[in-house]
């Protein structure tokens, strides 16, 4: 079953900037898809449209088989989001904020309390449980966003740079749990610039550039796809493909240098 299905998405911002230019993307249930692309390629716009935070000009968004219209909101019960610039009610403590989030997702109080305890421990936030979020470091804030995204055990997770600023130990635990969630059927759309993480963590990769998907492959089939589509026999890393697909001009011009260095 395709849990995420985006068809012909077009979005033009005021000023004529075309962020999405007929984007097509579908993700099967229980898949961890790495969604990568250069800055300004349209990743965050796509995620914000799926989250219902901004409108699309045209195209279709289907989640769990149902078309999502701008006025729909019930679908968010099944989705968890970590946005590129997550917003918090930063005058609350982590526990208060998670309690608030759990209530908004309609979790029963007892179950919510147990999950909050577990999440705080898992994300190593117990020590600062009495501190307000506005006193947290960037990494801790990201952990709060992640905890809020998974507290209701969503069927779809949309993550924009979820591991940014998070320490390696916590990042490892988060990655392990993401894999576990995927094994249990959760679909994850992971947007990140850390290609190494994407390569090791994801089942599939989709590269977006100038508002369109320009490369899509399962991780195990990359070598074959490279040969058939780009005519390349060698494959060393995802970074190499990325530069091949989206950075051809830079490659041609050689390494960019600052004039005064």
């Amino acid at each position: 079953m395709r849990t995420i299905e985006l068809t012909g998405l077009i979005k033009t911002y005021s000023g004529g900037v075309k962020a999405l230019d007929g984007l097509d993307l579908s993700v099967e249930e229980g898949t961890l898809l790495g969604f990568v692309g250069p800055n300004g390629a349209g990743k965050s716009t796509t995620i914000n449209i799926v989250a219902g935070l901004i409108g699309k000009d045209s195209g279709e968004v289907r989640l769990l088989g149902e078309e999502i219209r701008p006025t729909d909101y019930e679908y968010k019960r099944n989705v968890g989001f970590v946005l590129d610039s997550p917003r918090y009610i930063d005058k609350l403590t982590a526990r208060e904020y998670l309690r608030f989030v759990a209530a908004m997702y309609g979790l029963e109080v007892g179950a919510a309390a147990a999950r909050i305890d577990e999440l705080l421990e898992f994300f190593d936030l117990e020590k600062k449980r009495k501190a307000r979020i506005d006193s947290y470091s960037a990494g801790m804030k990201k952990k709060i966003a992640l905890a809020a995204a998974i507290i209701h055990r969503p069927r779809i997770l949309i993550l924009d740079e979820p591991l940014e600023a998070i320490d390696p130990v916590s990042a490892k635990a988060i990655k392990d749990n993401l894999k576990l969630m995927v094994q249990q059927g959760t679909t994850v759309l992971l947007s990140s610039h850390v290609l190494d993480t994407v390569e090791k963590l994801c089942d599939e990769i989709a590269i977006i550039n100038k508002g369109r998907i320009v490369f899509r492959s399962r991780m195990g089939e990359i070598r074959q796809r490279l040969k058939s589509e780009l005519g390349k026999d060698t494959y060393t890393s995802l970074e190499e493909i990325f530069i091949d697909v989206v950075g051809e001009n830079r490659e041609r011009d050689g390494v960019k240098k600052l004039s005064w260095l």
């Binding site: 219902g52 935070l53 968010k76 005058k91 609350l92 608030f100 209530a103 908004m104 997702y105 307000r132």
Partner: protein, 517 residues
């Protein structure tokens, strides 16, 4: 959990946040409230007549007038309406209409209400203590009704402004704008209902008396007065909308002009650093590390001011503040005030201007300030004390000058001579200047302290209290000199009104003193 459950969660969370924000903002609220009450007691009471009911009602009248202008001023419209904002609510399963309704309710509960609730609580409790519960109730009802209506208007106007800016479709804006329309339609009924309810109370006659005093007129006349105020407010809203539209068009042009000017300055600095004075090459771009700027030297103040303006000019709010305030004050004086009774013409305009001054003190304290902030300056090789001057030149001079120009013009219309007007301007400049210096010094002091220790928190508290006292004392000092308010308007106009006001002030004080005995 149903919708009502979610609403409760949101309200509860909003109140927690409100409570957490309060300590930081409390002193400013107190300043605002104290300033307003002193102003009301000293300036308004003598004007509208010193008797017990109007004396008690004066702070409320002050608040209602302030509230009206405040709410219709884009300082509020462009400020985040709720503490729990849309971007957070947007991620949860909440319907658009429901989410809108919640935002409206949360907006009613926002921290700004503290501005109004503190003095209202004082007035109401005073009335209760004086054994006038009906008047106290009447005030609560009147304030509540107006708060609801004005919030509705605000909530409705916001999407209209956004629609003008092209962010909402006209259809969406109209849909949301229906909400205040409903409130406006309900307002007479609401007032009527509260009136009828209170009439059932044995002390109904006192209630009617209370309302009469509050409105400083008979009941029908009072309602007409309120209606006129609404019309005036709506007219101002329309002006703001038109101005916002125009400014949105002017803004890019101004940006280009400023950018060009900044580039020209930078080029000049690169070309002839020595000719630009001791500090003026610090912001110049150097390609040679050996000729890097000397960080021990002062930075070009002019360039920082320009930079500050470049940042600020992106803030619509700032431009509204700079350009619209004097324009509004001018229009108010030209169009509204002459046709109104003495109370409106002699009180509203000074109130409007003085609240702007007070409002800027609050802005100065960092709640909504934009532009080149101290923390930005502190990352540059810049003497942080320059910050005060940057703020003064780029923010205070245009504001004060704009208000002064208006005041001068109004003063001339009132029959004072050019000589008196200029004298008044010179006099009135003194107080804002001292206020600005005192306040900015405090801001600098706060920023240089860590807020994480008990000692520093205590120090900040002391500084805040001292700052508040200084501010209030300065206001009192100003009143003591016979001015109606801190603003330039009073400084110009008091030459005309001084003798009569002096009499009224003394009789007002006398009455207040006698009553307090």
């Amino acid at each position: 959990m149903g919708s009502s459950g979610k609403l409760w969660i949101l309200i509860r969370t909003n109140l927690i946040v409100l409570n957490r924000e309060a300590p930081n903002a409390f002193m400013s609220y107190l300043t605002y409230a104290l300033g307003g009450m002193i102003f009301s007691a000293v300036a308004i009471v003598p004007v509208i007549g010193p008797n017990s009911s109007s004396a008690a009602g004066a702070p409320l009248i002050f608040l209602l007038v302030v509230f009206m202008f405040d709410y219709l001023n884009l300082q509020v419209l462009l400020t985040r309406a709720t503490l729990i904002d849309r971007s957070i609510l947007g991620l949860f399963p909440l319907s658009g209409i429901w989410s809108g309704a919640i935002r409206f309710i949360l907006m009613l509960l926002n921290r700004r209400i503290l501005f109004y609730m503190i003095p209202v609580a004082v007035v109401v409790s005073t009335l209760f203590a004086k054994g006038e519960p009906a008047q106290a109730l009447a005030m609560i009802l009147l304030f509540g009704s107006l708060y609801l209506v004005l919030s509705g208007i605000l909530f409705g106007m916001y999407p209209v402004f956004r629609a003008i800016a092209g962010r909402y479709s006209a259809r969406t804006a109209m849909q949301i704008a229906m909400i205040p329309l409903l409130f406006v339609l309900f307002f007479p009924g609401l007032f009527q209902l509260s009136h009828r309810l209170v009439l059932r109370i044995p002390v109904a006659a006192e209630f009617v008396e209370g309302v009469r005093f509050i409105l400083a007129s008979d009941f029908t006349g009072g309602m007409l007065e309120v209606a006129r105020l609404f019309l005036a407010a709506l007219m101002l809203g329309g002006l703001l909308a038109a101005a916002s539209f125009l400014l949105a068009r002017v803004d890019p042009i101004l940006h280009r002009v400023l950018t060009r000017k900044a580039l020209a300055l930078r080029r000049k600095a690169d070309r002839e650093p020595a000719a630009m004075g001791s500090g003026k090459k610090l912001l110049s771009v150097s390609k040679d590390r050996a000729s890097a700027p000397d960080s021990s030297r002062a930075t070009g103040l002019g360039r920082l001011i320009l930079l500050d303006w470049q940042i600020r000019q992106k803030e619509e709010k700032f431009f509204f503040v700079i350009l619209i305030n004097p324009v509004l004050a001018f229009l108010l004086a030209q169009v509204i005030a002459p046709g109104f009774n003495r109370f409106l013409s002699s009180v509203i305009l000074p109130v409007f201007i003085v609240t702007q001054m007070i409002g800027f003190l609050i802005i100065e304290n960092g709640y909504t300030q934009r532009g080149l902030r101290l923390k930005h300056v502190s990352t540059l090789p810049v003497d942080p004390t320059k910050f005060v001057r940057i703020k003064f030149y780029s923010e205070w001079i245009p504001i004060v000058a704009g208000n002064l120009a208006v005041a001068f013009f109004i003063g001339l219309r009132s029959g004072i001579t050019y000589y008196e007007g200029i004298q008044g301007i010179i006099y009135s400049l003194f107080i804002p200047f001292v206020l600005m210096l005192a306040n900015d010094s405090l801001v600098l002091a706060f920023n240089s302290l860590s807020r994480h220790t008990i000692v520093s928190t205590f120090l900040i508290l002391i500084l805040e209290i001292v700052g508040t006292l200084v501010y209030v004392l300065l206001m009192v000092f100003n009143f003591a000199l016979g001015a109606v308010c801190v603003s330039a308007f009073c400084a110009v106009s008091y030459f005309k009104w001084m003798p009569a006001l002096g009499e009224r002030l003394s009789s007002g004080f006398q009455t207040l003193l006698e009553e307090s005995k």
